[in-house]
Symmetry: C2
Subunit: 301 residues, 2 copies
Amino acid sequence: MSILVVGTVAFDSIETPRGFAERVLGGSASYFAVAASFFSPVKIVGVVGEDFPEDYLEIFSQRGVDLQGLKRAPGETFHWRGRYHEDLNVRDTVELHLNVLTGFSPTLPESYRDAEYVFLGNIDPGMQIEVLSQLRRMRLVACDTMDHWIQGSGEALRKLLRRIEMLIINDSEARLLSGEHNIVRAARSILKMGPKVVLIKRGEYGVLLFSDSSIFATPAYPLEEVFDPTGAGDSFAGGFLGHLARSGDHGQGGLRRAIVYGSVVASFTVEDFGLQRLTRLSVEEIEERYQRFIELTDFHT
Amino acid sequence: MSILVVGTVAFDSIETPRGFAERVLGGSASYFAVAASFFSPVKIVGVVGEDFPEDYLEIFSQRGVDLQGLKRAPGETFHWRGRYHEDLNVRDTVELHLNVLTGFSPTLPESYRDAEYVFLGNIDPGMQIEVLSQLRRMRLVACDTMDHWIQGSGEALRKLLRRIEMLIINDSEARLLSGEHNIVRAARSILKMGPKVVLIKRGEYGVLLFSDSSIFATPAYPLEEVFDPTGAGDSFAGGFLGHLARSGDHGQGGLRRAIVYGSVVASFTVEDFGLQRLTRLSVEEIEERYQRFIELTDFHT
């Protein structure tokens, strides 16, 4: 089953304690699409500028990603420059140039409108609603957001939350959105806003899944070397929805296994700068690390 | 199999966002002893002052804790006053009065010297070595420490680490002791200092277990309301060693299940101030939450 993703396709300039990378392929839709492509076919909705190189389009094509919905607009591509601290959970945005993203209005190609699995990546909630409104047969819609939209576009975001099944956000965003510091209370409060499932990403500490009837908690896969945490959250979402679309199993067990697949893909992402590790990843490596994940967490057999 | 614990028996004055408690029973040995007592008999080594009330001794006696090694010395009992932030992972020590702890030299009653399971709670490493030297038949020695001793008594601590099987510390202490920021590298570095097993406590994020051959990761039990995090780490250690002493199973599976029991007991501790929740806890509640913990984390069945 194919997955539609809308989000940013960007140039990222990244500095971490392990090194730096200049204008590499980044953005929420890019990480999501490449991650999900190991499980299911992916269609991207987004916009890039005239400066966006063919090599970068090639990265998507090699993973079989459908680029019909990736518009090329006059002007420059969205560019983010960030710097990570020694504590990789902390990062500063040094530069942010929206460029062609300003005023972008997504129009879906006809072949995209029957998409059943949908990820509304971290962009303007108004734009997320625009995409949603063009879809006819959604089985499962998940969405991400960030502090900027929670604070500045609260009304549109609330409207969106009433129309989606799953929200995938990090712990500080969950606290901000709910006004609750305790993460369990934060999640319960968000469930009342509309989504049936709330996934809370805690970086190197793992993920929590909340629904009305159940909580699932899993640690992250421990790594000796983290080169670049950029895109870990979107890679997680890609692996998660990718496995859901592949398996069609939306029950508790299916959701939980999808979370572990998402965690596995994210653990590869951070092993190198940008998308480098994912572009040389194989399905066999994913399955092998999934087995390691079972060994890592199992205590009752 | 009985467990010997040496550590502090103290008055704690605690302020959290949920309330405050004045001069309640606290200290590493107190939390450890009460927590472990649900699994195995416990013997305490420690010191209190003339001001230590009978009611508090009664708390131990009701849990069947052996107090032969708890000395009463002239002067006042060790007193700690702390304040937690809205983010309960952050706390300030407002007052610290060592009182009778200064100059305390632990002498073990004859009936303690054959203890096979030993927990050297967070006190001066010199004192931890003194206790260790009086024991004849140890099967398993675990120890805790803190930044104060890592920075000020590094040499004694290194000596101690060569003589114990397990170190149980939190993540920031592991970083400080190893000089490594990455937690996997920190643990590997500590394993080279002597212990065969390193347990790293990450508060609300759970626990990591490292040995030469294996890593185990588990989340903490998510709670809607945390009243007071004081003693969570020592309660964890109590439940952990308590279950190990009860089961006698030191293999990977046994260690992992013991970690989950420790996490379960710690999750009860923080539900009320001081030791209040543990004093009204039952073995049935522990077993029931252990089952909940399986449901919380299981994804591959």
